[in-house]
């Protein structure tokens, strides 16, 4: 509970400067990995 950012960033640039928000975003993306949501492909593939 103590590791919570008190600000709500207005842009991605602002969010990236805040460690706690970076952690939150990583957690969000981690969900994608856990759920096999997507995988990387080279652009020429389509």
């Amino acid at each position: 509970m103590t590791f919570v950012s008190q600000i709500e960033p207005k842009s991605i640039e602002e969010a990236l400067k805040d460690d706690k928000w970076v952690a939150a975003m990583h957690e969000g993306l981690h969900q994608f990995t856990r759920n096999y949501v997507w995988f990387l492909v080279p652009k020429s593939d389509q």
């Binding site: 991605i12 759920n35 997507w38 995988f39 080279p42």
Partner: protein, 323 residues
């Protein structure tokens, strides 16, 4: 092909920030029909169905539980070829120019709600549940004299059964298939406050009611004992002074949701609804009068006494007889 943005929001609980939550949302509005998506419809339960479920379980004397699915939409399987650019700041070091190809739905993708419903409903059907004939978000499973009822509302699920073992079995099955959270007795659902006791079920929206009063700055208004004056006459009021239509519609929308636990304001709310296209001061006054009534009756709700007999009475319009 989609670009994307990061959306951030924080989870407050009585005003305290408890968690920073970030969610990647795809810019689904760039999707083209026929190429990136085809069907998008997904059924959602009606509030009447929820209320009926409360009444039925109360009569049958069993308890309702709730749970929700974490990041539900990420469980939906995408059949079309959809690509998403790498979110800025989180590019893959080795392949910064690669794209993500979607296997599952992302928030913001047009077909996300439908694919989620598809995934959940086929899971339930394959586990022996039967889908409701009219309510497609209601599922039921019978074995001998035992029965379990499951009502889904996107990622929220309410369920109850004649035997605890059926509930346990359902929870285990769901946990095996999806990441679940917030399990427990049904207490708050879509802002509806549900209090279950052995004497019955109490359904109220007092928190929501207070929010409405605050939103429309009517917190300190005078209380009225009835939702409308007894000598109320309302018409188009052509000569009346116009009021902000958006605000008026906001009033009506909020009040309509409140009718879920307050059927006694249904008549007057529906009366106000009719003047939405051209609201005048007299109409706004009538809407405000409802709020004044609510001010004095914030904690009123619906009470379903246990074990009361259920008599199903159907009404239909005479048009229904027409051949």
């Amino acid at each position: 092909m989609d670009a994307n943005g990061f959306s951030e929001n924080k989870l407050d609980e009585s005003g305290v920030i408890t968690r920073n939550k970030a969610r990647l949302v795809a810019k689904g509005y760039n999707q083209e029909e026929g190429i990136d998506y085809s069907e998008t419809f997904a059924p959602v339960a009606r509030l009447e169905a929820i209320r009926l479920l409360l009444a039925f379980t109360c009569m049958s004397g069993f308890k309702l539980f709730q749970m929700d699915v974490k990041s539900a939409f990420l469980n939906g399987i995408i059949n079309e070829e959809v690509y998403v650019e790498q979110p800025s700041g989180f590019e893959d070091h080795q392949h910064p120019n690669h794209l993500y190809k979607l296997k599952k739905a992302l928030y913001g993708i047009k077909q996300a709600p439908r694919q989620w419903y598809e995934r959940l409903s086929s899971f339930l059907l394959s586990n022996g549940y039967e889908r409701g004939m009219t309510d497609k978000t209601f599922f039921i499973k019978k074995s001998n004299s035992k029965i379990i009822l499951v009502q889904i509302y996107v990622d929220d699920i309410i369920f109850g059964a004649t035997n605890d073992s059926l509930c346990e079995e359902f929870v285990a099955a769901m946990q095996g298939e999806f990441e679940m959270s917030m399990m427990g007795e049904l207490s708050i659902f879509l802002g509806l406050q549900v209090k279950q006791s052995k004497d019955g079920i109490f359904l109220s929206q007092s928190k929501y009611c207070k929010e409405i009063l605050k939103k429309f700055e009517m917190e300190s208004c005078k209380e009225a004992s009835t939702p409308m004056p007894s000598s109320c006459y309302m018409d188009a009021d052509v000569a009346g002074k116009e009021v902000d239509q958006t605000k008026y519609r906001g009033f009506i929308g909020s009040l309509l949701y409140l009718t879920t636990s307050r059927p006694n304001i249904m008549f007057v709310v529906c009366l106000c609804v009719r003047f939405q296209t051209n609201p005048k001061e007299s109409h706004l006054k009538a809407a405000k009068r409802i709020l004044k009534y609510l001010k004095g009756t914030t904690n009123v709700g619906l009470w379903y006494p246990s074990h009361s007999p259920i008599h199903l009475i159907g009404y239909s319009d005479s048009d229904f007889c027409r051949v």
